[in-house]
Symmetry: C2
Subunit: 484 residues, 2 copies
């Protein structure tokens, strides 16, 4: 769950949830006991009934309470406290040269194949995206905009940048159009950011586990990875970042504070602010990947590192690939104090982004339906995620642990009895199921017994059956490893 911001009205229900959690954990509310009605608790805490309801639903998701028809909410007799997957016991690993590309390539080759159930790809089901609306806008742009075939500026379409600047207010970021550079997806933003702040041989701190493309980027640029453990319940902690900065000559940090891929971890907003302060003091730039921030399961999205950046030290990267149209390749970056360098690199990478898709996304945002669209898909994606979580616990053998993310599109599964996820990857592939083995999410071997499964692709009988099959395969591998 998110760490609530004491100053923020939007996270009110999280305070209510914490209050109730305290009552349950201290034994004040006992297993089987009915918890106060929405109305009663709302009146007592001075919050609305819907806020209390949100808190109760969150507690239900955490397995602490259960709803009984027409009777209200009850403390679960034996709270289903599923242990979260473990993280590394190392506070930080020394810098290592990254060499994961061969394995990543093998996994990627499996992705995108139509004969394979795509649980290995972190994408959003096409049916959830406003495809028809975007196609219509692109058609309009093609018909009415004479400049459609001309170069855009290196920084990108001005109207689009205005719309992005306006939207960033949602994340607590104050920005002008001039602070923004349009990029071909978040991937290009991250590439530009990393090139803007590093030189070959530099140490770059990343979360462990982290998105495998970051490891590829580091490998390709001859950078060395320093891994900081990410906790599924709170992500990278300020104290662990500090230890890393103290011990190693870190020249840049890459973080995905909102729903880290693959463990779904959300860094609480106060911790974000603390880390931004810490990094600014030490003059170490931080690259923020916020590609999942809009896919939170709460009504209001969490803040970003960039929200409290006063020195231009945060390079904020995001895109519309998970929420609108991956094929339009429209992402963006706020390069902060590295704007001149980022500009130069973009110019010598591909000059600028395609003009028509920028115009179409700009018009879509200007129409004002984006927030409504986000609310809709958040609900559907959360439901898909909860269903997959439940099915994993049902079908996978005893000892399997799974995350309970508050946003994003992936689950991080710890396999029991040291089942090797690469063996599982091959066994699943033979059955026509794509998965992402844990080993590609770190340059160390600490996640060899983890698996990332994506629930963003939608729920269907095929997916249902695939999860059951994965459970059986895991059980067979666990039996095998116990016997050997």
């Amino acid at each position: 769950m998110s760490g609530p911001d004491a100053d923020s009205a939007v996270f009110r229900y999280v305070r209510v949830e914490k209050h109730l959690l305290g009552l349950i954990e201290s034994g004040t509310l006992k297993p089987g006991e009915r918890i106060p009605s929405l109305r009663a608790l709302g009146a007592r805490l001075g919050v609305s009934v819907s806020t209390v309801n949100q808190a109760y639903l969150a507690l239900e998701r955490r397995g602490m309470v259960e709803a009984r028809p027409k009777s209200g909410f009850f403390v679960r007799a034996r709270p289903a406290r599923r242990p979260a997957p473990q993280t590394s016991i190392l506070p930080a690993t020394p810098p290592t040269t990254v060499n994961r590309s061969a394995l990543i390539r093998e996994v990627l080759n499996c992705m995108g194949r139509h004969d394979i159930v795509p649980l290995g790809v972190a994408h959003t089901n096409q049916d959830l995206l406003p495809t028809k609306q975007l196609a219509r806008l692109l058609g309009k742009v093609a018909a009415n905009e004479p400049r459609i075939t001309e170069y855009e500026t290196v920084c990108g379409n001005l109207e689009l940048r205005r719309q992005i600047a306006w939207r960033l207010g949602e994340s607590g970021i104050t920005a002008q159009a001039d602070d923004i550079m349009v990029t071909a997806g978040a991937m290009e933003a991250l590439y530009l950011a990393l090139r803007s702040v590093t030189r070959p041989g530099d140490n770059v701190a990343i979360a462990a586990p982290t998105y495998y493309c970051f490891l590829q980027l580091l490998e390709n640029f001859g950078l060395r990875a320093v891994e900081i453990p990410s906790q599924p319940d709170c992500g990278v902690r300020p104290e662990d970042l500090q230890t890393t900065l103290d011990r190693f000559d870190v020249r840049a940090v890459i973080l995905t504070p909102n729903f880290n891929n693959p463990d779904g971890a959300l860094i609480p907003d106060p911790a974000k602010r603390e880390m931004v302060r810490m990094l600014a003091e030490r003059d170490v730039p931080v690259i923020e990947d916020d590609v999942y921030g809009d896919l939170c399961f709460q009504e209001h999205r969490p803040q970003c590192l960039k929200s409290s950046d006063t020195t231009g030290n945060v390079l904020h990267c995001s895109s519309f690939s998970k929420t609108l149209a991956p094929g339009f390749r429209v992402g963006y970056m706020l390069p902060g104090r590295f704007a001149a360098k980022a500009f130069e690199i973009k110019g010598t990478t591909n000059v600028c982004c395609a003009t028509p898709t920028q115009m179409a996304v700009g018009r879509y945002l200007a129409q004002g339906g984006f927030e409504r669209h986000l609310r809709k898909i958040r609900t559907v994606i959360e439901r898909q995620g909860r269903t997959m979580e439940e099915r994993i616990l049902r079908h996978f053998p005893e000892g399997t642990r799974v995350t309970h993310p508050a946003g994003g599109t992936v689950l991080w599964v710890q396999l029991p009895d040291a089942v090797d996820s690469i063996a599982l990857f091959y066994a699943a592939k033979a059955k026509g199921i794509g998965v992402a083995p844990g080993s590609i999410f770190s340059s160390s071997d600490q996640f060899n017994h983890f698996l990332r499964l994506s629930y963003g692709g939608g729920w269907s009988p095929v997916v249902e059956e695939a999860v059951a099959t994965l459970g059986r395969l895991t059980a067979a591998l666990a039996d095998g490893s116990r016997q050997s």
Copy 2:
């Protein structure tokens, strides 16, 4: 002029041209003498009347003959043999760290401004491009292609790649769709190619002068430039390449064999083949920029380095930015034996290119009007170029030399009396005229007295006046430098 391929039917007229040139230079055909009629020479040499006509027009362009109304072609009384701009006297410069970015940035800041006559930008006049047709196709794609918002594959749209593969036959390149990767313009192709074959600190051989973006790329990747002189009449010569390869540990070569930017040099096809062989033997990859190859002033375009590549050692880069739609960002690369590396780098740069613009260009090419369009714009662009050449010789002071390119969109002007082109750049900017000073086309200072002027932007009274103004400014600077 192109070096004709002895085996090729398409360059037949070049043989006719050479035959006549021999007759003129040996004195067999004397100044003022009428040269044989089209029909007579065609019958004698066993070629068609139109082939002879092409040869006569080429000779006219070279100033060797002149057409007199209703009388035919005559050898010019005093052939207008204007001296070509000089090249470096150094056979090759030792590796140097590149540091031209600050100056390039200053020049670029001036470009793209609407209050400035854009003679500094090498682009094609928007009016010459089939903008309406492309917009209509984009609209159709938006209306009919359900996959328009989805990711393309990393290599790009298959139909587009099929069309490109088919078109490459024009350049003598045999390729399949699978040999091609779609890129965001030729710039991205060049970026991917350079990253695929080099590591920081490597020596990369480039032409002198060369396109300034290559210098920026080298600088940004920590690569060292080895400059090989380019001759305006034949480009980089095989013997100069060989000297460079013998003297320095060169890890890659970048060449623009067809109409090198800025000097417009065309490497004869036999020399291309010799260099491809030489580089393959030494296992030194060569990056070929063919972005101007389609803008040749002959009916049939010259061949490429890639045309004779049998080992996959040539990374061929081009785009449709100069001929169709710069804002669509559709270019391509044939990465040869570096395909796996290029694939990986594209994936971690921006995953893939925008889907709709790839589809629209694919459909445009499939319709089959591209060659007709090219023929049309080649004629217009050549006329613009010849006009600008003539006006430069008219308005600039005595001693000014200018290239007479057989394709492309730029003229390379050598200023007289050591006029400093950076001084001219500032003087021109103050008058609202953008130019590209020679110093940005080399990491050495050998082109400080050169200027690149673009004629691709169209001819107009404003451009006419701007060229006259530049001539006056140059004269004033020449006077100043003589007096000081």
